[in-house]
């Protein structure tokens, strides 16, 4: 059994059953898939095989072609050439639309939940699938309940979806997919917004499905999860197939190096130089006292020094983001004071914070970060432009100059500065948002989950960048769900539990176990305290 290599909050409770699925009964086979976008060869001669009752991880950096491959399988994109074979079909199958894919028994659950939150669970499960105009509501609810029960999902069929937790919503999406008699289930980053116990439940469900013979393609950025639940790994890089491996034959280090296409110097490098940008006892640049917002966090105190990197840690929903949102004026502040260099300042909306030199990279890139239809260039200059004022637009030439400068500086992979940001890969979108805030030359940069859902390479880039900026005197708050990432970057950690600051760790206290212990707390330690 493989031991996790980098330490993480992993669930070790469940025994992983890795069966021998060497039987060559493939449910889905792809041969020589090509897909070209203007200027980019997204997929070149990619083969992929999924067998019955197998959980197959599809790994690769951003831009490696994972999403494109999945979209080819699900009929969102049409392949340029290559062939797709499905079990039960003698010849090649043609998939021209997501509807086709669904009819062939290929179901997909996307990272973003694509259900209707204002409908009930049962309605969501059956929407678009009732034949004719009449619906037998009672029967539908009964049937939904039956399916939910068989999958052991703890929700009532007539409950409104919006009232369920994210994990349950995700599972309802899976239940919907499974119920469509699927042979192939594609899970695209299903765990990125779930906490550990929720992930545990999801894995249980995946194992059940596997036992029923469903082939599952699992896309994720969490290495631990891959090693916990998958049987096989297919690695893509730059649109090409690197290889297919048995999980036991591919140690984690090798996986990462295969994904990156280089040896792991970079990763170990940054791990090595444990940041000793220690607080030198100088006066804080920004300081908050009894700060409270309408997002439901308890009043908290906070300070940050010049050149310091600190972080908020805690479980999902513990109020990490809400704290920094209050500092930035993103949520309505209902109490407390903020001081800059000892002087009280008033921050009631984001522009106030920006004027004081605070920049905030929001947690949810898609909803709060990018302006999808605007170009990379416009997205980069936006914040700096707003700060300059409405009557002082940058000249077009200036915007190109600035955009090109930052595209180069952060190594943003885009066809041109005029490409709409929405067509970039997640990691590159994130870099654009980082560029946007750097262009503002902030004194204090808040990075809220800057590395969520992006590839390993970019993760390291962003961590390095944060340390570099701190070295140049910028104050940085770094928030991440991955504690090892926090340990690597932060010299001081503020620990949160149940929307309250419960502790602060510095120096020697900065270890996995002390974080775990602080998060779990003494008397009301929750079920998440899975310490090593």
């Amino acid at each position: 059994m493989l031991r996790p290599f980098a330490q993480k909050i992993v669930i070790q409770a469940i025994d992983v059953e890795r069966g021998e699925f060497v039987k060559e009964n493939a449910v889905l086979e792809l041969h020589g898939i090509y897909k070209v976008f203007p200027g980019v060869k997204a997929l070149q001669n990619v083969d992929f095989t999924l067998r019955e009752g197998e959980i197959h991880a599809l790994m690769g950096e951003n831009g490696a072609g994972k999403s494109t491959l999945i979209k080819v399988i699900t009929g969102v994109y049409e392949k340029e050439s290559g062939s797709i074979f499905l079990k039960g079909h003698d010849s090649e199958v043609n998939i021209h639309s997501p509807q086709d894919a669904q009819n062939l028994g290929i179901s997909t659950v996307y990272q973003e939940i694509t259900l209707c939150p204002n409908l009930t669970v049962a309605e969501n499960m059956f929407i678009g699938r009732t034949k004719g105009a009449l619906t037998n509501w009672k029967k539908m609810n009964e049937q939904a309940d039956k399916i939910l029960k068989s999958l052991d999902i703890d929700v009532r069929a007539n409950q409104q979806l919006a009232t369920c937790s994210l994990a349950i919503q995700q599972m309802v999406a899976i239940a919907r997919a499974v119920d469509m008699d699927c042979k192939v289930l594609i899970l695209d980053e299903p765990t990125s917004s779930l906490d550990d116990s929720e992930v545990k439940k999801l894995f249980g469900l995946m194992r059940d499905l596997k036992a029923k013979g469903v082939g599952i393609i699992f896309v994720t950025h969490f290495l631990d999860q891959v090693y916990e639940v998958c049987d096989k790994i297919t690695v893509l890089r730059d649109g090409r197939l690197v290889g297919e491996y048995d999980i036991s034959a591919l140690p984690r280090v090798e996986l990462v190096s295969k994904m990156l296409g280089k040896e792991l110097d970079d990763l170990s490098d940054i791990k090595g130089d444990k940041t000793e940008v220690k607080s030198d006892g100088s006066a804080p640049v920004f300081e908050a006292k009894d700060l409270q917002s309408n997002a439901g966090i308890k009043p908290f105190d906070f300070y940050i020094r010049k050149g310091e990197v600190n972080g908020f840690t805690g479980l999902l929903g513990s109020g990490r983001s809400e704290c920094v949102r209050a500092l930035f004026g993103a949520d309505r502040v209902i109490g407390g004071t903020v001081k800059k260099n000892g002087k009280v300042i008033k921050i009631s909306k984001p522009i106030d914070a920006m004027k004081q030199g605070i920049a905030y990279l929001p947690e949810d890139r898609k909803v709060d970060g990018i302006i999808g239809d605007l170009s990379v260039r416009e997205n980069i200059i936006l914040a700096a432009q707003v700060l300059r004022g409405m009557f002082k637009p940058f000249s077009k030439a200036d915007t190109y100059k600035l955009a090109d400068e930052y595209i180069k500086l952060l190594d943003i992979k885009t066809a041109s500065a005029d490409t709409p940001i929405k067509s970039l890969s997640g990691g590159n979108q994130q870099k654009v948002i980082v560029a946007r805030w750097l262009l503002m030359h902030p004194e204090y940069l808040i990075l809220d989950e800057p590395t969520r859902g992006i590839d390993v390479g970019t993760k390291v880039d962003i961590q390095k960048l944060a340390l570099k900026l701190a070295g140049e005197g910028m104050s940085i708050t770094f928030i991440s769900s991955e504690t090892d990432e926090m340990l690597r970057t932060c010299s001081r950690l503020i620990v949160m539990r149940d929307r309250k600051v419960v502790g602060e760790l510095t120096g020697d206290e900065l270890t996995q176990s002390s974080i775990m212990r602080t998060i779990a707390g003494g008397d009301d330690g929750r079920e998440d305290g899975n310490e090593e």
């Binding site: 930035f328 993103a330 909306k349 984001p350 522009i351 920006m354 905030y360 929001p362 909803v367 709060d368 970060g369 990018i370 302006i371 999808g372 239809d373 605007l374 416009e378 936006l382 914040a383 432009q385 707003v386 700060l387 409405m390 009557f391 637009p393 946007r436």
Partner: protein, 350 residues
């Protein structure tokens, strides 16, 4: 490379429509393009011809299209009260000019005063719509439905339901001709409006902000933009456009008919935005394309009049052409066309 240029430019759709209409007219009757210099009843030189008619009568629509484009971009909805607001503006202008007498011998106030009052009133009504949309989060079409319904009654009420008539010839200059100048005044007014909006878009960040707000309001806010303020502003700007269009409208007739003036013009203004290839759901916009879209509609109307289409049947003919244009400018069709052209190109090369 060339085909990419052709289909990525929004301007090409309205331009192609104009060219198509022009070719159609050229085939049907080349005299369509004849422009003659004559004299009007007052003995002043005037240009006349169908092309002049298009430029002249397309003015109000083009001016409204400017405001409607901004409203659409920022709020992702449309203002359907512009026709009713034009009635209000016209009524206000006449009221100020006539005072209490509905058939005055001389004007009771300078025209510029009447116009400025009208501007203030129109912007106030625009602000009313803007507040409902931006601060109360009501859907634009529902919010503006209020004035759409009430506007013409308010207009009639302003003049006690009388129909004032102005005999002063100088009032007719705005919708007609300035003595000695052969080109209709509305054309100049439109040119001024277009120049103003182009300058505003160049020298302020209004364009970037409205698009930003229209695409992603939450994200815009986190970038320091005040989305509510931007939406509110676009409605006020549309109010200003309404005031200018209203002045032209009442000046053409020197009187007003509350229930008929600028009837259904809101739909044409929205159509102009759509014909310009702009998404009615907001976000990115192309101002020049919207303005051209307005002239496409006028070109079409004039062509149909020229063909002596029965005025009752006119709308049906118009609808057919509009369907074709809207379908052709839909992104899906454009993509298909683009692909088709690329294949075509490849074959040619091979």
């Amino acid at each position: 490379m060339k085909s990419k240029f052709v289909f990525n430019k929004q301007l090409l759709i309205p331009l192609a429509a104009i060219v198509a209409l022009a070719i159609f007219n050229l085939i049907m009757d080349p005299s369509f393009f004849k422009i003659t210099l004559g004299t009007n009843s007052a003995g002043h030189p005037v240009l006349s011809g169908y092309l002049i008619t298009i430029l002249d009568y397309g003015s109000e629509l083009a001016i409204l299209a400017i405001g409607m484009t901004l409203v659409t971009a920022a709020s992702g909805g449309q203002d359907i009260s512009v026709g009713a607001n034009i009635a209000i503006v016209g009524s206000v202008i006449l009221r100020v000019l006539c005072g209490t007498n509905s058939r005055p011998e001389t004007l009771q106030a300078p025209i510029i005063v009447a116009f400025l009052v009208a501007c203030v009133v129109a912007m106030l009504f625009g602000a009313f719509n803007g507040i409902l949309v931006a601060y109360f989060n009501i859907q634009p079409m529902v919010a503006t439905l209020i004035l759409f319904t009430a506007g013409r009654s308010i207009a009639a009420w302003i003049n006690n339901n009388e129909l004032p008539i102005i005999n002063e010839p100088s009032f007719g200059y705005f919708g007609g001709y300035i003595p000695g100048i052969a080109i209709p005044t509305p054309v100049f007014i439109t040119i001024i409006c277009v120049i103003v909006i182009m300058l505003v878009l160049k020298f302020t960040t209004l364009g970037l902000y409205t698009q930003s707000v229209g695409i992603n309001e939450k994200s815009s806010r986190l970038n320091g933009i005040n989305p509510q303020m931007i939406k509110f502003m676009t409605f006020v700007i549309l109010g200003l456009c309404v005031a200018v269009a209203g002045l032209i409208k009442v000046s053409r007739l020197s009187t007003i008919n509350y229930s008929v003036i600028a009837k259904d013009i809101e739909m044409d203004a929205i159509l102009a935005v759509a014909l310009g290839g702009n998404a009615l759901s907001g976000g990115k916009f192309n101002m020049a394309a919207s303005i051209l879209g307005a002239y496409v509609i006028q070109f079409l109307t004039t062509t149909l009049y020229k063909m002596q289409v029965n005025s009752e049947a006119l709308s049906a003919y118009k609808a057919v052409v509009v369907i074709i244009l809207v379908v052709l400018s839909a992104p899906i069709v454009r993509d298909k066309l683009k692909k088709f052209m690329e294949k075509f190109k490849k074959k040619e090369v091979a």
